[in-house]
């Protein structure tokens, strides 16, 4: 047994008790998953074990690391343990922006071992290699790394002194699903090499499932349940019912065809030359029918949000066509465009950023109404009606956004979007900035609004549980293209594109996405494709040379030369 926590309690001044009598043990080389909603006391628990809580916190109980009591030790004594036998991987990468990653790992080595500078540097390169970062990149600065690579550097620092226990607090928060899998893989390698036990703290049940040996569920500062990982299966998930409904024959509210958005890239100061363009959106086609929800999913930077913004502009795209309610946006007059804005509204990711902090809720919701000449005598009652529609009270109208919770703010943003009775709502990560408990509320609201008002949603999300629950159809984007479209359950159960499978089933992919300025010739996914490496010469050449076209059927199409399922697979 490496770590033994007995009856640990954390209280803050003011009587808040974040952790209430938690006891658990972690054996050598064991992985314990600690799951629970935000606010359940997971992070407070981790900080208490590390001795990193601020002075005002009152910690009682016992934390024994290999039999040595940690509670009650001075900070100086604890620093000798921290980072050496007890290491932590933080939620966000806590790297110094002004020093190279190699230096920072070397510093972690030298903090606890008396070695020369050169030896520490050599060890740093070894450690970075272990977590999958090439030796040449040790001299890079953190900003030159992607989020996943920075998190790997953090893991390299954590295992620098072969710790007995690694505490990983949401180590994959904010990373894409494919990268999350990579980071977990690295963590697993690190565990196997050093023999360290891992305490993995997360709100994401899917993460724990394939990784932890045992699971501890926390709720309101206590352990709600603890047991083998199979325990998770009994916890209700956010996934919706597993029925595939046929696509309704209704008119399309939105039709996008061959949409292109390239951003020019310039170089040079005196003579600015155009050196190329970032192909943010590079030929995207899909349609959304009345009352239907289409989800755009993909890694960050794949062009999901750019696609939304291009639709919202309601003007002629660089290439391709956007047709909203039967009207081609390229040929709209200014007046027609403004009128069409009533029908297409948007809800952004972060309600803090999308509500003007200087305006009252009533004015925020009334703004679209006044913009379209709604009679001011009726505005007040309309605002009240909208507040009720999204589950807020009439007296919220007089408040400022900062006096509302995150979920309430997002409800205000939804009320504003509904003010003009739109027929299509674009949702850009509508719940990802909210806590899990509030997410469920907002999703329920969105579902009921869709059913009551007959809205169509175009949803951008990276949280696959959200997508699975709310979307009828799903379009998977990769490097500005849609690689697969289909009904949500079909795509989940039988993904046809290797990328879809990696994304939905959290299969780690090799490397990072290619440079969007110069995508690889042929298939854009082949540099990372797990299927490509298994292909024989003739089949692989097809991927090298030809850019795969999406298959004909617009209801279930895949852009791959060698899809995993479907009729094409048998050819």
């Amino acid at each position: 047994m490496v770590l033994k926590v007995t009856d640990l309690t954390v209280g803050y001044t003011g009587g808040v008790r974040a952790v209430r009598g938690v006891s658990f043990t972690v054996g050598v080389g064991e992985v314990l998953g600690v799951v629970g909603e935000s606010g359940a006391g997971k992070t407070a628990l981790a900080l208490a074990v590390m001795g990193l809580l601020p002075d005002g916190a009152d910690v009682t109980g016992s934390v024994r690391l290999r039999g040595d009591e940690l509670i009650g030790r001075s900070d100086a004594e604890l620093s000798r343990v921290r980072g050496k036998d007890l290491a932590m991987v933080f939620q966000e990468s806590a790297l110094t922006p002004v020093r190279t990653v190699g230096d920072q790992v070397a510093e972690a080595v030298r903090a606890h071992a008396k070695v020369t500078r050169a030896a520490a540097r050599a060890r740093a390169v070894e450690l970075l290699d272990l977590v999958g970062i090439a030796a040449g990149r040790a001299r890079s600065y953190p900003h030159e790394f992607s989020g996943g690579m920075r998190q790997r550097v953090m893991i390299a620092m954590a295992i620098a002194n072969s710790p007995g226990v690694i505490l990983a607090d949401e180590p994959t928060a904010g990373l894409d699903a494919t990268v999350q899998a990579q980071v977990l893989d690295v963590l697993r390698t690190a565990k196997d090499t050093t023999g360290a036990a891992i305490v993995l703290i997360t709100h994401d049940l899917g993460l724990v499932e394939g990784f932890a040996d045992r699971v501890m569920v926390m709720r309101a500062g206590r352990i709600a349940e603890t047991g083998p990982v199979e325990l998770l299966r009994s916890i209700p998930r956010m996934d919706g019912e597993n029925v595939s409904r046929p696509r309704p024959e209704r008119p399309a509210v939105l039709r996008v065809d061959g949409l292109v958005r390239h951003y020019p890239v310039f170089q040079g100061t005196l003579l600015r030359r155009r050196v190329g363009s970032v192909r943010a959106v590079d030929g995207v086609a899909f349609d959304v029918r009345e009352g239907e929800t289409l989800a755009l999913v993909g890694e960050s930077g794949c062009g999901k949000t750019t696609t939304l913004m291009e639709i919202l502009r309601l003007s002629q795209p660089q290439k391709g066509r956007v047709v909203v309610l039967g009207q081609d946006t390229a040929s709209l007059s200014a007046a027609r465009r403004k009128a069409l804005r009533r029908d297409v509204q948007v809800v952004f990711q972060d309600p803090v950023a999308s509500l003007n902090p200087r305006m009252r809720v009533a004015d925020i919701i009334a703004e679209p109404l006044t913009a379209h000449g709604f009679p001011s005598s009726l505005t007040g009652s309309r605002v009240t009606g909208l507040l009720e529609l999204v589950g807020l009270k009439a007296d919220h109208a007089r408040r400022y956004p900062h006096a509302l919770s995150g979920g309430q703010k997002q409800r205000v943003a939804i009320a504003r979007a509904l003010a003009l009775e739109p027929r299509l709502l674009l949702l850009d990560e509508p719940v990802s900035a909210l806590d899990a408990s509030m997410q469920a509320g907002i999703l329920t609201l969105l579902e009921s609004l869709r059913d009551r008002l007959g809205l169509a949603y175009l949803l951008v999300a990276h949280d696959l549980a959200v997508v699975r629950r709310i979307a009828d159809r799903i379009a998977v984007m990769h490097m500005g293209r849609i690689v697969e479209v289909g009904p949500t359950h079909d795509v989940y159960d039988t993904p046809a594109h290797p990328y879809t499978r990696a994304l939905l089933q959290r299969v780690p992919l090799r490397g990072d996405p290619p440079d969007p300025m110069s995508p690889p010739a042929g298939c854009r996914f082949r540099t990372r494709c797990p299927r490509y490496v298994t292909l024989a010469g003739q089949d692989a050449r097809l991927c090298d040379e030809q850019d795969p076209e999406p298959s004909k059927d617009p209801d279930r199409s895949v852009a791959c030369h060698h899809p995993l399922v479907g009729a094409e697979a048998n050819q």
């Binding site: 919202l312 403004k338 804005r341 009533r342 297409v344 509204q345 948007v346 952004f348 972060d350 950023a353 999308s354 509500l355 003007n356 902090p357 200087r358 305006m359 925020i364 703004e367 679209p368 913009a371 379209h372 400022y400 900062h402 943003a413 504003r416 979007a417 003010a419 003009l420």
Partner: protein, 264 residues
């Protein structure tokens, strides 16, 4: 409000009170000539003495302070207002309009202001001075406002308003101006200091306010021959005091407003 800002505000209010209420208690009007006293020192009859032409220096200084304050503050208001309008429109609308407006700003930056003011100012007398001064002070602020607008217009609540169909002028007034307001307030008070000094300098050189009108600059110029005698120093001292007051006020406002930029 910080202490510096409070001191600046109190100073400015007292200078204003002195300049506009002072003439009520002064025994002489500023354009009266005392034929019995030419170039005299301070006395009970003339509190700060008289000029070579027999005018009361105390009354002249107050009259000059009135002009300097009005011209300086008016110039600051005009300059900041112009900067706000040009900057937000250029930044928000972008495209050709943006280029044209910024090209105009750059053009004004390279013109020698002294020369242009010297040519333009005599035409309209002192009321022309404020707009002419303002015309040469708004450019840098407009560029800063434009840059701030560029980031402000990408804020999600501004996007949401645009996508809801709000027109550009309304969006600027409701969402962009409040974001740059603190900059503008601070800029106005700091520009006032610069404008008052500039007006004083121009008038001193005979290019700004001209006789028979007076400003602090002309009073100082009148006393040039007698720099050592302190009554004429009163005008210079008052000028310094005014500039100090607006600068302190500007600093104070900046300290108060900056942390609020996004605090709530």
């Amino acid at each position: 409000m910080t202490r510096r800002g409070a001191v600046g505000l109190v100073l400015l209010v007292s200078v204003f009170a002195l300049a506009f209420a002072g003439p009520l208690v002064s025994p002489w009007r500023w354009d009266e000539i005392d034929f019995t006293a030419f170039g005299q020192g301070p006395s009970a009859r003339h509190w700060l003495g008289t000029t070579q032409s027999g005018r009361d220096v105390f009354a002249l200084t107050l009259r000059g302070a009135q002009k300097s304050l009005v011209i300086g503050l008016l110039a600051a208001l005009l300059s900041t207002g112009l900067a706000a309008v040009v900057g937000t429109i250029a930044g928000f609308v972008g495209g050709l309009l943006d280029q044209a407006l910024m090209w105009g700003a750059d053009l004004l930056l390279v013109l020698p202001p002294l020369l242009v003011v010297a040519v333009l100012a005599p035409g309209g007398g002192w009321p022309m001075l404020a707009p002419v001064l303002a015309a040469f002070m708004w450019m840098l602020t407009a560029r800063v406002v434009r840059a701030m607008t560029l980031s402000a217009r990408e804020r999600e609540y501004v996007l949401a308003a645009r996508f809801a169909g709000l027109g550009a002028p309304r969006a600027i007034v409701r969402h962009v101006l409040p974001q740059v307001a603190s900059l503008l307030i601070v800029d106005a008070s700091l520009t006032a200091g610069v404008a008052i000094t500039a007006e004083g300098g121009l008038s001193f050189l005979g290019l700004g306010v001209r006789p028979p009108d007076v400003s602090l600059g002309t009073v100082i110029a009148d006393g040039r021959g007698a720099v050592a005698t302190w009554p004429f120093m009163a005008a210079a001292g008052l000028l310094v005091l005014i500039v100090l007051a607006v600068n302190l006020l500007g600093d104070g406002l900046r300290d108060v407003l900056d942390p609020l930029q996004d605090g709530r």
